[in-house]
Protein backbone atom coordinates (compact mmCIF):
# COMPACT_ATOMS: atom_id res chain seq x y z
CA UNK A 1 0.00 0.00 0.00
CA UNK A 2 1.31 3.41 -0.84
CA UNK A 3 1.40 6.44 1.39
CA UNK A 4 2.53 10.05 1.21
CA UNK A 5 4.83 11.61 3.79
CA UNK A 6 3.62 14.79 5.43
CA UNK A 7 5.18 18.02 4.23
CA UNK A 8 6.91 20.25 6.78
CA UNK A 9 3.87 22.49 6.64
CA UNK A 10 1.57 19.58 7.40
CA UNK A 11 3.68 18.52 10.38
CA UNK A 12 3.68 22.13 11.59
CA UNK A 13 -0.11 22.32 11.27
CA UNK A 14 -0.49 19.06 13.20
CA UNK A 15 1.69 20.35 16.04
CA UNK A 16 -0.05 23.73 16.11
CA UNK A 17 -3.39 22.01 16.43
CA UNK A 18 -2.14 20.05 19.48
CA UNK A 19 -1.12 23.19 21.42
CA UNK A 20 -3.83 24.08 23.93
CA UNK A 21 -5.29 27.47 24.76
CA UNK A 22 -3.19 29.43 27.23
CA UNK A 23 0.05 27.55 26.61
CA UNK A 24 3.42 29.30 26.86
CA UNK A 25 5.41 27.97 23.92
CA UNK A 26 8.91 28.31 22.52
CA UNK A 27 9.42 27.35 18.89
CA UNK A 28 12.99 26.41 18.03
CA UNK A 29 14.96 27.86 15.15
CA UNK A 30 14.44 26.27 11.75
CA UNK A 31 11.58 23.90 10.99
CA UNK A 32 9.72 24.44 14.32
CA UNK A 33 9.33 28.15 13.49
CA UNK A 34 6.77 27.06 10.86
CA UNK A 35 4.41 25.98 13.67
CA UNK A 36 3.76 29.67 14.36
CA UNK A 37 2.06 30.01 10.97
CA UNK A 38 -0.58 27.41 11.85
CA UNK A 39 -1.64 28.31 15.39
CA UNK A 40 -5.45 28.27 15.54
CA UNK A 41 -6.70 31.86 15.41
CA UNK A 42 -9.35 31.22 18.06
CA UNK A 43 -6.82 30.18 20.72
CA UNK A 44 -4.68 32.48 22.83
CA UNK A 45 -1.22 30.91 22.74
CA UNK A 46 1.74 32.90 24.03
CA UNK A 47 4.99 32.51 22.12
CA UNK A 48 8.28 33.04 23.95
CA UNK A 49 11.51 34.05 22.27
CA UNK A 50 14.79 33.44 24.09
CA UNK A 51 16.04 36.94 23.36
CA UNK A 52 13.45 38.47 25.67
CA UNK A 53 9.95 38.39 24.23
CA UNK A 54 6.65 36.94 25.43
CA UNK A 55 3.63 37.39 23.20
CA UNK A 56 5.66 37.31 20.02
CA UNK A 57 3.61 37.95 16.89
CA UNK A 58 4.11 37.15 13.20
CA UNK A 59 6.53 38.80 10.80
CA UNK A 60 5.83 42.51 10.25
CA UNK A 61 4.30 43.93 7.09
CA UNK A 62 6.78 45.28 4.56
CA UNK A 63 7.95 48.71 5.62
CA UNK A 64 7.33 48.01 9.30
CA UNK A 65 10.48 46.03 9.98
CA UNK A 66 12.19 46.97 13.24
CA UNK A 67 15.59 45.30 13.66
CA UNK A 68 15.37 45.82 17.42
CA UNK A 69 12.40 43.44 17.47
CA UNK A 70 13.68 40.09 16.24
CA UNK A 71 13.23 36.42 17.08
CA UNK A 72 15.85 33.83 18.08
CA UNK A 73 16.54 33.21 14.39
CA UNK A 74 17.35 36.95 14.06
CA UNK A 75 14.32 37.55 11.82
CA UNK A 76 12.04 40.56 12.35
CA UNK A 77 8.84 39.84 14.29
CA UNK A 78 6.06 41.81 16.00
CA UNK A 79 4.66 42.01 19.54
CA UNK A 80 1.06 41.07 20.26
CA UNK A 81 -1.10 43.25 22.49
CA UNK A 82 -0.26 42.20 26.04
CA UNK A 83 3.25 41.10 25.12
CA UNK A 84 6.33 41.90 27.20
CA UNK A 85 10.06 42.46 26.85
CA UNK A 86 12.62 41.30 29.41
CA UNK A 87 16.33 40.63 29.60
CA UNK A 88 18.21 37.45 28.80
CA UNK A 89 18.68 36.16 32.33
CA UNK A 90 14.93 36.41 33.00
CA UNK A 91 14.24 34.82 29.65
CA UNK A 92 16.39 31.80 30.48
CA UNK A 93 14.85 31.61 33.96
CA UNK A 94 11.55 31.06 32.12
CA UNK A 95 13.15 28.37 29.98
CA UNK A 96 15.27 26.55 32.54
CA UNK A 97 12.87 27.11 35.42
CA UNK A 98 10.03 25.03 33.99
CA UNK A 99 7.76 27.94 33.12
CA UNK A 100 7.28 27.07 29.46
CA UNK A 101 4.57 24.50 28.79
CA UNK A 102 5.89 23.33 25.45
CA UNK A 103 8.96 23.79 23.34
CA UNK A 104 9.21 22.43 19.83
CA UNK A 105 12.72 21.61 18.68
CA UNK A 106 14.30 20.16 15.60
CA UNK A 107 16.56 17.11 15.99
CA UNK A 108 19.20 15.02 14.28
CA UNK A 109 18.36 12.04 16.48
CA UNK A 110 16.10 11.11 19.38
CA UNK A 111 16.72 7.98 21.43
CA UNK A 112 14.13 5.50 22.66
CA UNK A 113 14.49 6.98 26.14
CA UNK A 114 14.11 10.59 25.00
CA UNK A 115 17.73 11.62 24.69
CA UNK A 116 17.99 14.52 22.27
CA UNK A 117 20.79 15.26 19.80
CA UNK A 118 20.14 18.49 17.95
CA UNK A 119 23.07 20.88 18.38
CA UNK A 120 26.04 19.28 16.68
CA UNK A 121 26.81 16.61 14.12
CA UNK A 122 30.34 16.39 15.48
CA UNK A 123 33.10 16.39 12.92
CA UNK A 124 34.87 19.62 12.18
CA UNK A 125 31.88 21.96 11.93
CA UNK A 126 32.15 25.08 14.10
CA UNK A 127 30.36 24.13 17.33
CA UNK A 128 27.35 26.31 18.24
CA UNK A 129 24.74 25.58 20.91
CA UNK A 130 22.67 28.71 21.57
CA UNK A 131 19.72 28.07 23.88
CA UNK A 132 19.06 24.46 22.85
CA UNK A 133 20.39 22.81 26.02
CA UNK A 134 18.47 25.20 28.29
CA UNK A 135 15.21 24.55 26.47
CA UNK A 136 15.79 20.80 26.46
CA UNK A 137 16.14 20.55 30.23
CA UNK A 138 13.69 23.28 31.16
CA UNK A 139 10.44 23.13 29.21
CA UNK A 140 7.64 21.03 30.73
CA UNK A 141 7.09 19.28 27.41
CA UNK A 142 9.80 18.93 24.81
CA UNK A 143 8.32 18.06 21.44
CA UNK A 144 10.56 17.24 18.52
CA UNK A 145 9.66 18.00 14.92
CA UNK A 146 11.74 16.13 12.37
CA UNK A 147 11.74 13.85 9.37
CA UNK A 148 11.37 10.21 10.36
CA UNK A 149 14.33 9.14 8.23
CA UNK A 150 17.64 10.65 7.21
CA UNK A 151 18.28 11.40 3.55
CA UNK A 152 19.99 8.00 3.42
CA UNK A 153 16.81 6.36 4.71
CA UNK A 154 18.02 5.62 8.24
CA UNK A 155 15.75 6.03 11.23
CA UNK A 156 16.36 9.22 13.22
CA UNK A 157 14.70 7.52 16.17
CA UNK A 158 17.50 5.35 17.53
CA UNK A 159 18.29 3.13 20.48
CA UNK A 160 21.26 5.36 21.34
CA UNK A 161 22.18 8.73 19.87
CA UNK A 162 25.47 8.71 17.98
CA UNK A 163 25.54 12.51 17.60
CA UNK A 164 26.53 14.68 20.59
CA UNK A 165 23.71 14.96 23.13
CA UNK A 166 21.73 18.11 23.87
CA UNK A 167 19.92 16.61 26.86
CA UNK A 168 19.25 13.25 28.48
CA UNK A 169 15.75 11.78 28.67
CA UNK A 170 14.10 15.09 27.84
CA UNK A 171 11.88 14.44 24.79
CA UNK A 172 8.23 13.59 25.44
CA UNK A 173 6.87 13.43 21.90
CA UNK A 174 8.16 13.26 18.33
CA UNK A 175 6.23 14.55 15.34
CA UNK A 176 7.60 13.11 12.12
CA UNK A 177 6.47 13.10 8.51
CA UNK A 178 5.11 9.58 9.10
CA UNK A 179 3.54 9.53 12.57
CA UNK A 180 3.46 10.86 16.11
CA UNK A 181 5.57 8.96 18.65
CA UNK A 182 5.05 9.42 22.37
CA UNK A 183 7.93 8.51 24.66
CA UNK A 184 6.32 6.84 27.64
CA UNK A 185 7.66 4.84 30.59
CA UNK A 186 6.44 1.69 28.78
CA UNK A 187 8.17 2.56 25.55
CA UNK A 188 7.51 4.37 22.32
CA UNK A 189 3.87 4.61 21.36
CA UNK A 190 3.07 5.34 17.73
CA UNK A 191 -0.12 7.02 16.59
CA UNK A 192 -1.55 9.06 13.75
CA UNK A 193 0.39 7.30 11.00
CA UNK A 194 -0.12 8.92 7.60
CA UNK A 195 -2.95 7.33 5.58
CA UNK A 196 -1.86 4.10 3.94
CA UNK A 197 1.07 3.47 6.29
CA UNK A 198 0.50 0.37 8.37
CA UNK A 199 1.91 0.00 11.87
CA UNK A 200 4.06 -2.90 10.65
CA UNK A 201 5.56 -0.78 7.89
CA UNK A 202 6.21 2.08 10.31
CA UNK A 203 7.90 -0.39 12.65
CA UNK A 204 10.05 -1.69 9.81
CA UNK A 205 11.26 1.85 9.06
CA UNK A 206 11.93 2.74 12.69
CA UNK A 207 15.15 1.79 14.43
CA UNK A 208 13.59 0.83 17.75
CA UNK A 209 10.55 -1.15 18.93
CA UNK A 210 7.21 0.69 18.81
CA UNK A 211 3.90 0.03 20.46
CA UNK A 212 0.71 0.71 18.53
CA UNK A 213 -1.40 3.39 20.21
CA UNK A 214 -4.28 0.91 20.53
CA UNK A 215 -2.08 -1.25 22.78
CA UNK A 216 -1.90 1.60 25.21
CA UNK A 217 -5.42 0.99 26.49
CA UNK A 218 -4.99 -2.78 26.40
CA UNK A 219 -1.74 -2.75 28.36
Amino acid sequence: MSYAMLTREQIAARIANDIPEGAYVNLGIGMPTLVGNYLPKDREIILHSENGILGMGPAPAAGEVDMELINAGKEPVTLLTGGAYFHHTDSFAMMRGGHLDICVLGAFQVSATGDLANWSTGGDAIPAVGGAMDLAVGAKNVWVMMEHLTKEGRSKIVSRCTYPLTGIGVVKRIYTDLAVIDITPRGLVASRQVPGLSFDELQRLTGVPLLPSGARAAA
Binding site: N51, I70, K74, G130, G131
Partner: protein, 246 residues
Protein backbone atom coordinates in the same frame (compact mmCIF):
# COMPACT_ATOMS: atom_id res chain seq x y z
CA UNK B 1 36.85 58.11 49.85
CA UNK B 2 37.15 55.50 47.16
CA UNK B 3 34.98 53.17 49.18
CA UNK B 4 32.03 55.45 48.65
CA UNK B 5 32.58 56.24 45.01
CA UNK B 6 30.71 53.28 43.55
CA UNK B 7 30.94 53.06 39.78
CA UNK B 8 32.08 56.69 39.45
CA UNK B 9 35.20 57.97 37.79
CA UNK B 10 35.53 61.36 39.33
CA UNK B 11 35.50 62.00 43.05
CA UNK B 12 34.71 65.22 44.86
CA UNK B 13 32.58 66.54 42.06
CA UNK B 14 29.58 68.55 43.11
CA UNK B 15 27.19 66.15 41.43
CA UNK B 16 27.25 62.74 39.90
CA UNK B 17 27.77 62.96 36.19
CA UNK B 18 28.46 59.68 34.40
CA UNK B 19 27.96 61.21 30.98
CA UNK B 20 31.14 61.34 28.95
CA UNK B 21 31.52 63.47 25.82
CA UNK B 22 32.60 60.81 23.32
CA UNK B 23 33.03 57.09 22.73
CA UNK B 24 36.79 57.73 22.60
CA UNK B 25 36.72 59.26 26.09
CA UNK B 26 34.51 56.40 27.31
CA UNK B 27 37.06 53.77 26.25
CA UNK B 28 40.34 55.59 26.82
CA UNK B 29 41.51 53.42 29.72
CA UNK B 30 40.73 49.93 28.39
CA UNK B 31 43.84 47.81 28.93
CA UNK B 32 45.41 45.00 26.96
CA UNK B 33 44.30 41.60 28.22
CA UNK B 34 40.92 42.83 29.47
CA UNK B 35 37.79 40.71 29.52
CA UNK B 36 35.07 42.65 27.72
CA UNK B 37 31.38 41.79 27.89
CA UNK B 38 29.63 42.97 24.72
CA UNK B 39 25.83 43.09 24.52
CA UNK B 40 23.71 42.23 21.53
CA UNK B 41 21.82 39.34 20.01
CA UNK B 42 21.83 39.26 16.24
CA UNK B 43 21.76 42.89 15.14
CA UNK B 44 19.68 43.99 18.14
CA UNK B 45 21.39 45.69 21.07
CA UNK B 46 24.87 45.65 19.56
CA UNK B 47 26.87 48.62 20.92
CA UNK B 48 28.35 49.17 17.47
CA UNK B 49 29.79 52.64 18.06
CA UNK B 50 31.56 51.47 21.22
CA UNK B 51 32.99 48.44 19.42
CA UNK B 52 34.29 50.65 16.61
CA UNK B 53 35.85 52.94 19.20
CA UNK B 54 37.43 49.95 20.94
CA UNK B 55 39.05 48.95 17.65
CA UNK B 56 40.39 52.49 17.25
CA UNK B 57 41.55 52.54 20.88
CA UNK B 58 43.81 49.60 20.14
CA UNK B 59 43.63 47.35 23.23
CA UNK B 60 44.91 43.87 22.40
CA UNK B 61 44.83 40.31 23.72
CA UNK B 62 41.20 40.76 24.70
CA UNK B 63 38.78 38.12 25.92
CA UNK B 64 35.35 38.87 24.45
CA UNK B 65 32.05 37.63 25.85
CA UNK B 66 29.18 37.87 23.37
CA UNK B 67 26.27 35.72 22.25
CA UNK B 68 27.82 35.28 18.81
CA UNK B 69 31.26 35.64 17.30
CA UNK B 70 30.41 38.44 14.93
CA UNK B 71 28.90 38.48 11.50
CA UNK B 72 30.10 39.94 8.20
CA UNK B 73 32.81 42.45 8.99
CA UNK B 74 31.25 44.88 11.42
CA UNK B 75 30.91 44.93 15.19
CA UNK B 76 32.54 41.98 16.95
CA UNK B 77 33.69 40.58 13.58
CA UNK B 78 35.61 43.79 12.87
CA UNK B 79 37.26 43.51 16.28
CA UNK B 80 38.26 39.92 15.51
CA UNK B 81 39.49 40.89 12.06
CA UNK B 82 41.68 43.59 13.60
CA UNK B 83 43.45 40.83 15.53
CA UNK B 84 42.58 42.16 18.97
CA UNK B 85 40.90 39.10 20.42
CA UNK B 86 42.72 36.20 22.06
CA UNK B 87 39.65 34.33 23.23
CA UNK B 88 35.92 34.46 22.69
CA UNK B 89 33.33 33.11 25.11
CA UNK B 90 30.00 32.73 23.31
CA UNK B 91 27.04 30.48 22.59
CA UNK B 92 26.61 30.55 18.83
CA UNK B 93 29.65 31.35 16.70
CA UNK B 94 28.29 29.65 13.56
CA UNK B 95 26.22 32.09 11.52
CA UNK B 96 25.87 32.22 7.74
CA UNK B 97 28.33 35.08 7.60
CA UNK B 98 30.62 34.47 10.57
CA UNK B 99 33.53 33.83 8.23
CA UNK B 100 35.97 36.09 10.08
CA UNK B 101 35.67 34.00 13.22
CA UNK B 102 35.72 30.74 11.29
CA UNK B 103 38.98 31.61 9.50
CA UNK B 104 40.69 32.62 12.77
CA UNK B 105 39.36 29.53 14.57
CA UNK B 106 40.49 27.14 11.87
CA UNK B 107 43.92 28.81 11.79
CA UNK B 108 44.20 28.31 15.56
CA UNK B 109 44.43 32.05 16.10
CA UNK B 110 41.55 32.37 18.52
CA UNK B 111 40.44 30.34 21.51
CA UNK B 112 36.74 29.45 21.78
CA UNK B 113 34.84 28.68 24.98
CA UNK B 114 31.37 27.52 23.96
CA UNK B 115 28.73 28.00 26.66
CA UNK B 116 24.97 27.28 26.58
CA UNK B 117 23.17 30.58 26.32
CA UNK B 118 21.31 30.43 29.62
CA UNK B 119 24.47 29.33 31.41
CA UNK B 120 26.40 32.23 29.86
CA UNK B 121 23.77 34.68 31.06
CA UNK B 122 23.51 33.12 34.52
CA UNK B 123 27.29 33.05 34.96
CA UNK B 124 27.34 36.80 34.35
CA UNK B 125 24.38 37.28 36.67
CA UNK B 126 26.28 35.34 39.34
CA UNK B 127 29.32 37.58 38.86
CA UNK B 128 27.18 40.67 39.24
CA UNK B 129 25.24 39.27 42.18
CA UNK B 130 28.19 38.04 44.23
CA UNK B 131 27.34 34.35 43.84
CA UNK B 132 30.34 32.03 44.12
CA UNK B 133 29.07 29.30 41.78
CA UNK B 134 25.83 27.53 40.96
CA UNK B 135 24.48 24.17 39.81
CA UNK B 136 22.44 24.08 36.61
CA UNK B 137 20.78 21.11 34.87
CA UNK B 138 21.70 22.61 31.51
CA UNK B 139 24.37 20.61 29.63
CA UNK B 140 24.37 17.72 32.14
CA UNK B 141 25.56 14.57 30.37
CA UNK B 142 26.69 16.46 27.25
CA UNK B 143 30.08 17.29 25.78
CA UNK B 144 29.83 20.83 27.16
CA UNK B 145 29.86 19.47 30.73
CA UNK B 146 33.03 17.43 30.24
CA UNK B 147 35.52 17.96 33.04
CA UNK B 148 33.03 19.87 35.19
CA UNK B 149 31.86 18.92 38.66
CA UNK B 150 28.37 17.46 38.75
CA UNK B 151 25.86 16.61 41.44
CA UNK B 152 22.46 14.92 41.59
CA UNK B 153 19.93 17.32 43.10
CA UNK B 154 16.41 15.97 43.68
CA UNK B 155 17.11 13.17 41.24
CA UNK B 156 18.27 15.45 38.44
CA UNK B 157 21.85 15.83 37.24
CA UNK B 158 23.38 19.28 37.61
CA UNK B 159 26.64 20.89 36.48
CA UNK B 160 28.69 23.30 38.58
CA UNK B 161 29.28 26.62 36.84
CA UNK B 162 31.39 29.56 37.96
CA UNK B 163 30.73 33.29 37.65
CA UNK B 164 31.86 35.19 34.57
CA UNK B 165 32.66 38.82 35.21
CA UNK B 166 34.23 41.42 32.97
CA UNK B 167 36.71 44.23 33.33
CA UNK B 168 34.53 46.23 30.98
CA UNK B 169 30.95 45.86 29.70
CA UNK B 170 29.80 47.58 26.51
CA UNK B 171 26.02 47.82 26.33
CA UNK B 172 23.53 49.60 24.13
CA UNK B 173 20.50 51.23 25.71
CA UNK B 174 17.88 53.61 24.38
CA UNK B 175 18.00 56.35 27.01
CA UNK B 176 20.19 57.10 30.00
CA UNK B 177 20.61 59.89 32.53
CA UNK B 178 23.60 61.34 34.35
CA UNK B 179 23.19 58.90 37.24
CA UNK B 180 23.58 56.05 34.75
CA UNK B 181 19.98 54.84 34.87
CA UNK B 182 19.09 53.04 31.65
CA UNK B 183 16.07 51.98 29.67
CA UNK B 184 16.26 49.78 26.60
CA UNK B 185 14.18 49.25 23.48
CA UNK B 186 12.34 46.05 22.56
CA UNK B 187 14.57 42.98 22.06
CA UNK B 188 17.68 45.17 22.02
CA UNK B 189 17.62 44.78 25.82
CA UNK B 190 18.86 41.16 25.71
CA UNK B 191 22.18 40.79 27.61
CA UNK B 192 22.52 44.50 28.50
CA UNK B 193 21.15 44.53 32.07
CA UNK B 194 23.04 41.38 33.13
CA UNK B 195 26.32 42.49 31.56
CA UNK B 196 25.98 45.94 33.12
CA UNK B 197 25.90 44.31 36.56
CA UNK B 198 28.81 41.96 35.85
CA UNK B 199 31.67 44.32 34.89
CA UNK B 200 33.98 46.52 36.90
CA UNK B 201 33.47 49.31 34.38
CA UNK B 202 30.19 49.46 32.48
CA UNK B 203 29.91 51.75 29.49
CA UNK B 204 26.48 52.36 27.98
CA UNK B 205 25.86 53.96 24.62
CA UNK B 206 22.44 55.61 24.36
CA UNK B 207 20.53 57.48 21.68
CA UNK B 208 19.13 59.97 24.14
CA UNK B 209 20.32 61.56 27.37
CA UNK B 210 17.36 62.11 29.68
CA UNK B 211 17.15 64.79 32.34
CA UNK B 212 17.49 63.34 35.81
CA UNK B 213 13.97 62.40 36.88
CA UNK B 214 12.64 62.11 33.34
CA UNK B 215 12.97 58.31 33.29
CA UNK B 216 10.03 56.77 35.14
CA UNK B 217 11.53 55.19 38.31
CA UNK B 218 9.04 52.33 37.97
CA UNK B 219 10.41 51.53 34.53
CA UNK B 220 14.17 51.96 34.88
CA UNK B 221 15.63 48.61 33.81
CA UNK B 222 19.27 49.11 34.80
CA UNK B 223 19.69 51.30 37.89
CA UNK B 224 22.68 53.63 37.70
CA UNK B 225 24.64 51.78 40.38
CA UNK B 226 25.60 49.25 37.68
CA UNK B 227 26.75 51.86 35.18
CA UNK B 228 30.07 53.74 35.05
CA UNK B 229 29.78 55.86 31.92
CA UNK B 230 27.03 56.92 29.56
CA UNK B 231 27.80 58.20 26.08
CA UNK B 232 25.38 59.52 23.51
CA UNK B 233 25.62 58.26 19.94
CA UNK B 234 23.63 59.26 16.89
CA UNK B 235 20.97 57.04 15.45
CA UNK B 236 22.42 56.15 12.09
CA UNK B 237 19.94 55.03 9.44
CA UNK B 238 22.85 53.93 7.30
CA UNK B 239 24.13 51.58 10.00
CA UNK B 240 20.65 50.17 10.44
CA UNK B 241 20.52 49.36 6.75
CA UNK B 242 23.89 47.59 6.96
CA UNK B 243 22.65 45.51 9.86
CA UNK B 244 19.44 44.66 8.02
CA UNK B 245 21.38 43.56 4.97
CA UNK B 246 23.50 41.33 7.18
Amino acid sequence: MLLFAGKRDILFEAMINKIVPSVEAALADVRDGSTILIGGFGGAGVPAELIDALIAQGARELTIVNNNAGNAEFGVAALLKAGRVRKIICTYPRLNDSYVFEALYRAGKIELELVPQGTLSERMRAAGAGIGAFYTPTSYGTDLAKGKETRMIEGKGHVLEYPLGGDVALVKAERGDRWGNLVYRKSARNFGPTMASAAKCTIAQVYEIAELGALDPECIVTPGIFVTRVVKVLRSPQRLETEKAA
